[in-house]
Symmetry: C2
Subunit: 124 residues, 2 copies
DNA sequence: CGGGATCCAGTGGGATACTG
DNA sequence: CAGTATCCCACTGGATCCCG
Protein backbone atom coordinates (compact mmCIF):
# COMPACT_ATOMS: atom_id res chain seq x y z
CA UNK A 1 0.00 0.00 0.00
CA UNK A 2 0.86 3.62 0.10
CA UNK A 3 3.48 4.62 2.66
CA UNK A 4 2.69 7.06 5.43
CA UNK A 5 2.87 10.74 4.70
CA UNK A 6 5.97 12.53 5.87
CA UNK A 7 4.82 14.70 8.79
CA UNK A 8 7.26 17.43 7.74
CA UNK A 9 6.58 17.47 4.04
CA UNK A 10 5.51 21.12 4.22
CA UNK A 11 7.88 23.65 5.71
CA UNK A 12 6.28 26.72 7.26
CA UNK A 13 9.31 28.83 6.33
CA UNK A 14 9.38 27.82 2.66
CA UNK A 15 10.10 30.94 0.56
CA UNK A 16 7.73 29.73 -2.14
CA UNK A 17 4.92 31.25 -0.12
CA UNK A 18 5.94 34.37 -2.07
CA UNK A 19 5.40 32.50 -5.32
CA UNK A 20 3.40 34.83 -7.57
CA UNK A 21 0.71 32.31 -8.38
CA UNK A 22 -1.64 30.05 -6.55
CA UNK A 23 -3.54 26.89 -7.35
CA UNK A 24 -6.93 26.61 -5.77
CA UNK A 25 -7.25 27.89 -2.24
CA UNK A 26 -4.54 28.28 0.33
CA UNK A 27 -4.14 24.56 1.07
CA UNK A 28 -5.26 22.97 -2.21
CA UNK A 29 -1.81 22.20 -3.57
CA UNK A 30 -0.72 20.56 -0.35
CA UNK A 31 -3.81 18.37 -0.39
CA UNK A 32 -3.08 17.39 -3.98
CA UNK A 33 0.48 16.44 -3.06
CA UNK A 34 -0.74 14.45 -0.08
CA UNK A 35 -3.09 12.47 -2.32
CA UNK A 36 -0.57 11.93 -5.09
CA UNK A 37 0.30 8.37 -4.04
CA UNK A 38 -3.20 7.15 -3.29
CA UNK A 39 -6.27 7.67 -1.10
CA UNK A 40 -5.89 9.15 2.37
CA UNK A 41 -8.11 9.51 5.38
CA UNK A 42 -9.08 12.82 6.91
CA UNK A 43 -6.87 12.58 9.96
CA UNK A 44 -4.08 11.17 7.86
CA UNK A 45 -4.07 14.43 5.93
CA UNK A 46 -4.03 16.36 9.17
CA UNK A 47 -0.55 15.12 10.06
CA UNK A 48 1.46 16.98 7.41
CA UNK A 49 -1.27 19.62 7.34
CA UNK A 50 -1.26 20.17 11.08
CA UNK A 51 -1.21 23.95 10.65
CA UNK A 52 -4.72 23.74 9.15
CA UNK A 53 -7.72 23.56 11.41
CA UNK A 54 -10.18 20.75 10.76
CA UNK A 55 -12.80 23.24 9.74
CA UNK A 56 -10.65 24.77 7.02
CA UNK A 57 -9.41 21.39 5.82
CA UNK A 58 -13.00 20.16 5.58
CA UNK A 59 -13.92 23.27 3.60
CA UNK A 60 -10.97 22.78 1.28
CA UNK A 61 -11.84 19.16 0.67
CA UNK A 62 -15.48 19.98 0.08
CA UNK A 63 -14.72 22.63 -2.50
CA UNK A 64 -12.28 20.30 -4.21
CA UNK A 65 -14.96 17.63 -4.32
CA UNK A 66 -17.36 20.20 -5.69
CA UNK A 67 -14.99 20.97 -8.53
CA UNK A 68 -14.44 17.30 -9.33
CA UNK A 69 -10.81 17.33 -8.21
CA UNK A 70 -11.23 14.62 -5.57
CA UNK A 71 -13.64 11.83 -4.70
CA UNK A 72 -14.92 11.33 -1.19
CA UNK A 73 -15.77 7.87 0.13
CA UNK A 74 -17.54 7.63 3.47
CA UNK A 75 -17.70 4.10 4.91
CA UNK A 76 -20.51 3.39 7.32
CA UNK A 77 -18.39 1.89 10.07
CA UNK A 78 -17.68 2.58 13.68
CA UNK A 79 -15.49 4.47 14.16
CA UNK A 80 -16.32 6.29 10.92
CA UNK A 81 -13.85 6.19 8.08
CA UNK A 82 -13.66 8.62 5.18
CA UNK A 83 -11.17 8.51 2.35
CA UNK A 84 -10.26 11.05 -0.26
CA UNK A 85 -8.58 10.39 -3.58
CA UNK A 86 -7.63 12.44 -6.59
CA UNK A 87 -9.82 12.18 -9.67
CA UNK A 88 -8.20 12.18 -13.12
CA UNK A 89 -9.11 15.85 -13.29
CA UNK A 90 -7.42 16.45 -9.95
CA UNK A 91 -4.33 14.65 -11.20
CA UNK A 92 -4.02 17.16 -14.03
CA UNK A 93 -3.18 19.72 -11.36
CA UNK A 94 0.05 17.85 -10.70
CA UNK A 95 1.31 19.15 -14.05
CA UNK A 96 0.58 22.68 -12.93
CA UNK A 97 2.33 22.05 -9.64
CA UNK A 98 5.35 20.91 -11.59
CA UNK A 99 5.18 24.01 -13.76
CA UNK A 100 5.03 26.10 -10.60
CA UNK A 101 8.02 24.32 -9.12
CA UNK A 102 9.98 24.77 -12.33
CA UNK A 103 9.20 28.47 -12.40
CA UNK A 104 10.31 28.79 -8.79
CA UNK A 105 13.58 26.98 -9.24
CA UNK A 106 14.38 29.12 -12.28
CA UNK A 107 13.04 32.53 -11.26
CA UNK A 108 12.37 32.70 -7.55
CA UNK A 109 15.84 34.01 -6.77
CA UNK A 110 15.31 36.91 -9.15
CA UNK A 111 11.99 37.77 -7.60
CA UNK A 112 13.32 37.67 -4.05
CA UNK A 113 16.31 39.79 -5.06
CA UNK A 114 14.08 42.31 -6.83
CA UNK A 115 11.89 42.56 -3.78
CA UNK A 116 14.87 43.12 -1.51
CA UNK A 117 16.31 45.76 -3.84
CA UNK A 118 12.99 47.56 -4.08
CA UNK A 119 12.59 47.58 -0.33
CA UNK A 120 16.11 48.96 0.01
CA UNK A 121 15.32 51.80 -2.42
CA UNK A 122 11.88 52.50 -0.93
CA UNK A 123 11.81 51.49 2.73
CA UNK A 124 8.26 52.85 3.09
CA UNK B 1 5.08 50.92 -32.96
CA UNK B 2 2.77 48.80 -30.92
CA UNK B 3 -0.86 48.88 -31.94
CA UNK B 4 -3.54 50.11 -29.58
CA UNK B 5 -4.94 47.71 -27.05
CA UNK B 6 -8.28 46.16 -27.86
CA UNK B 7 -10.73 47.80 -25.47
CA UNK B 8 -12.66 44.53 -25.15
CA UNK B 9 -9.77 42.16 -24.73
CA UNK B 10 -11.11 41.06 -21.34
CA UNK B 11 -14.64 39.74 -21.11
CA UNK B 12 -16.36 40.18 -17.76
CA UNK B 13 -18.40 37.01 -18.33
CA UNK B 14 -15.42 34.79 -19.16
CA UNK B 15 -15.86 31.41 -17.42
CA UNK B 16 -12.14 31.22 -16.73
CA UNK B 17 -12.79 33.33 -13.66
CA UNK B 18 -13.55 29.91 -12.12
CA UNK B 19 -10.11 28.70 -13.15
CA UNK B 20 -8.64 26.93 -10.11
CA UNK B 21 -5.42 28.88 -10.09
CA UNK B 22 -4.29 32.45 -10.11
CA UNK B 23 -1.15 34.29 -11.09
CA UNK B 24 -0.30 37.27 -8.95
CA UNK B 25 -3.20 39.37 -7.74
CA UNK B 26 -6.61 39.71 -9.32
CA UNK B 27 -5.49 41.84 -12.25
CA UNK B 28 -1.85 40.79 -12.69
CA UNK B 29 -2.36 38.47 -15.64
CA UNK B 30 -4.35 41.07 -17.53
CA UNK B 31 -1.60 43.61 -16.99
CA UNK B 32 0.95 41.12 -18.26
CA UNK B 33 -1.11 40.49 -21.39
CA UNK B 34 -1.54 44.22 -21.94
CA UNK B 35 2.23 44.70 -21.81
CA UNK B 36 3.06 41.70 -23.97
CA UNK B 37 3.62 43.75 -27.14
CA UNK B 38 5.56 46.61 -25.60
CA UNK B 39 5.44 49.45 -23.10
CA UNK B 40 2.13 51.09 -22.22
CA UNK B 41 1.06 54.18 -20.37
CA UNK B 42 -1.11 54.19 -17.27
CA UNK B 43 -4.26 55.41 -18.93
CA UNK B 44 -3.62 53.20 -21.91
CA UNK B 45 -3.90 50.23 -19.58
CA UNK B 46 -7.08 51.64 -18.14
CA UNK B 47 -8.95 51.17 -21.42
CA UNK B 48 -9.12 47.36 -21.51
CA UNK B 49 -8.92 47.39 -17.71
CA UNK B 50 -11.75 49.84 -17.26
CA UNK B 51 -13.33 47.66 -14.56
CA UNK B 52 -10.33 48.39 -12.34
CA UNK B 53 -10.20 51.58 -10.35
CA UNK B 54 -7.06 53.66 -10.69
CA UNK B 55 -6.22 53.01 -7.07
CA UNK B 56 -6.23 49.24 -7.53
CA UNK B 57 -4.39 49.43 -10.84
CA UNK B 58 -1.72 51.61 -9.26
CA UNK B 59 -1.39 49.12 -6.40
CA UNK B 60 -1.13 46.22 -8.82
CA UNK B 61 1.55 47.96 -10.87
CA UNK B 62 3.48 48.92 -7.77
CA UNK B 63 3.55 45.40 -6.43
CA UNK B 64 4.58 44.08 -9.83
CA UNK B 65 7.39 46.60 -9.92
CA UNK B 66 8.35 45.57 -6.41
CA UNK B 67 8.66 41.96 -7.54
CA UNK B 68 10.72 42.88 -10.60
CA UNK B 69 8.00 41.90 -13.06
CA UNK B 70 7.74 45.32 -14.68
CA UNK B 71 9.81 48.48 -15.05
CA UNK B 72 8.33 51.90 -14.48
CA UNK B 73 9.60 54.93 -16.40
CA UNK B 74 8.36 58.34 -15.30
CA UNK B 75 9.18 61.18 -17.73
CA UNK B 76 9.36 64.65 -16.26
CA UNK B 77 7.07 66.32 -18.75
CA UNK B 78 3.88 68.26 -18.71
CA UNK B 79 1.44 66.59 -18.88
CA UNK B 80 3.21 63.79 -17.02
CA UNK B 81 3.95 60.55 -18.83
CA UNK B 82 4.64 57.21 -17.23
CA UNK B 83 5.31 53.98 -19.06
CA UNK B 84 5.35 50.41 -17.87
CA UNK B 85 7.04 47.48 -19.55
CA UNK B 86 7.60 43.84 -18.77
CA UNK B 87 11.02 42.82 -17.48
CA UNK B 88 12.53 39.52 -18.65
CA UNK B 89 11.33 38.09 -15.36
CA UNK B 90 7.84 39.40 -16.05
CA UNK B 91 7.94 37.81 -19.49
CA UNK B 92 8.47 34.42 -17.92
CA UNK B 93 4.94 34.71 -16.60
CA UNK B 94 3.68 34.48 -20.17
CA UNK B 95 4.67 30.81 -20.13
CA UNK B 96 2.55 30.27 -17.06
CA UNK B 97 -0.33 32.11 -18.68
CA UNK B 98 -0.04 29.75 -21.62
CA UNK B 99 0.00 26.77 -19.27
CA UNK B 100 -3.12 28.14 -17.62
CA UNK B 101 -4.83 28.60 -20.95
CA UNK B 102 -3.91 25.07 -22.02
CA UNK B 103 -5.28 23.64 -18.80
CA UNK B 104 -8.50 25.56 -19.26
CA UNK B 105 -9.06 24.48 -22.84
CA UNK B 106 -8.44 20.87 -21.88
CA UNK B 107 -10.11 20.64 -18.48
CA UNK B 108 -12.38 23.57 -17.84
CA UNK B 109 -15.42 21.78 -19.26
CA UNK B 110 -14.93 18.93 -16.81
CA UNK B 111 -14.63 21.29 -13.89
CA UNK B 112 -17.73 23.26 -14.82
CA UNK B 113 -19.67 20.02 -15.36
CA UNK B 114 -18.52 18.64 -12.02
CA UNK B 115 -19.58 21.81 -10.29
CA UNK B 116 -23.00 21.73 -11.90
CA UNK B 117 -23.46 18.05 -11.02
CA UNK B 118 -22.42 18.65 -7.44
CA UNK B 119 -24.79 21.57 -7.09
CA UNK B 120 -27.58 19.43 -8.53
CA UNK B 121 -26.90 16.69 -5.95
CA UNK B 122 -26.46 19.12 -3.06
CA UNK B 123 -28.39 22.33 -3.68
CA UNK B 124 -27.42 23.64 -0.25
C1' DC C 1 -13.25 9.82 13.76
C1' DG C 2 -14.71 13.31 10.96
C1' DG C 3 -16.48 16.79 10.98
C1' DG C 4 -20.27 21.21 12.01
C1' DA C 5 -21.46 25.71 14.59
C1' DT C 6 -20.16 29.96 15.97
C1' DC C 7 -17.47 33.87 16.26
C1' DC C 8 -13.84 36.86 14.82
C1' DA C 9 -9.68 39.41 12.73
C1' DG C 10 -7.14 40.61 8.78
C1' DT C 11 -7.05 41.98 4.15
C1' DG C 12 -7.97 42.53 -0.74
C1' DG C 13 -10.27 45.24 -3.41
C1' DG C 14 -14.10 48.68 -4.69
C1' DA C 15 -16.47 53.76 -4.49
C1' DT C 16 -15.75 58.35 -4.29
C1' DA C 17 -13.28 62.48 -4.09
C1' DC C 18 -9.23 65.13 -4.65
C1' DT C 19 -4.29 66.79 -6.49
C1' DG C 20 0.72 68.07 -8.38
C1' DC D 1 -2.10 62.52 -16.79
C1' DA D 2 -1.14 59.70 -13.24
C1' DG D 3 -1.91 58.96 -9.52
C1' DT D 4 -3.40 59.65 -3.56
C1' DA D 5 -6.50 59.91 0.27
C1' DT D 6 -10.44 58.06 2.71
C1' DC D 7 -13.77 55.17 3.66
C1' DC D 8 -15.90 50.85 3.55
C1' DC D 9 -17.42 46.17 2.74
C1' DA D 10 -17.24 41.18 1.71
C1' DC D 11 -14.90 37.32 2.05
C1' DT D 12 -11.05 34.02 3.45
C1' DG D 13 -9.32 31.65 6.81
C1' DG D 14 -8.24 30.97 11.86
C1' DA D 15 -9.81 29.90 17.08
C1' DT D 16 -12.67 27.54 19.92
C1' DC D 17 -16.12 24.50 21.20
C1' DC D 18 -19.34 20.85 20.35
C1' DC D 19 -21.56 16.57 18.22
C1' DG D 20 -23.23 11.85 15.98
Amino acid sequence: MTASLNPDMFDAACPTTAMPFQIGDKWTVMVVLCLEDGPRRFNELRVPLRRVTSKVLAETLRSMERDGLINRFAYDENPPRVEYELTPLGRTLLDLVDAARSWCSENMDDLVAARAAFTARDPA
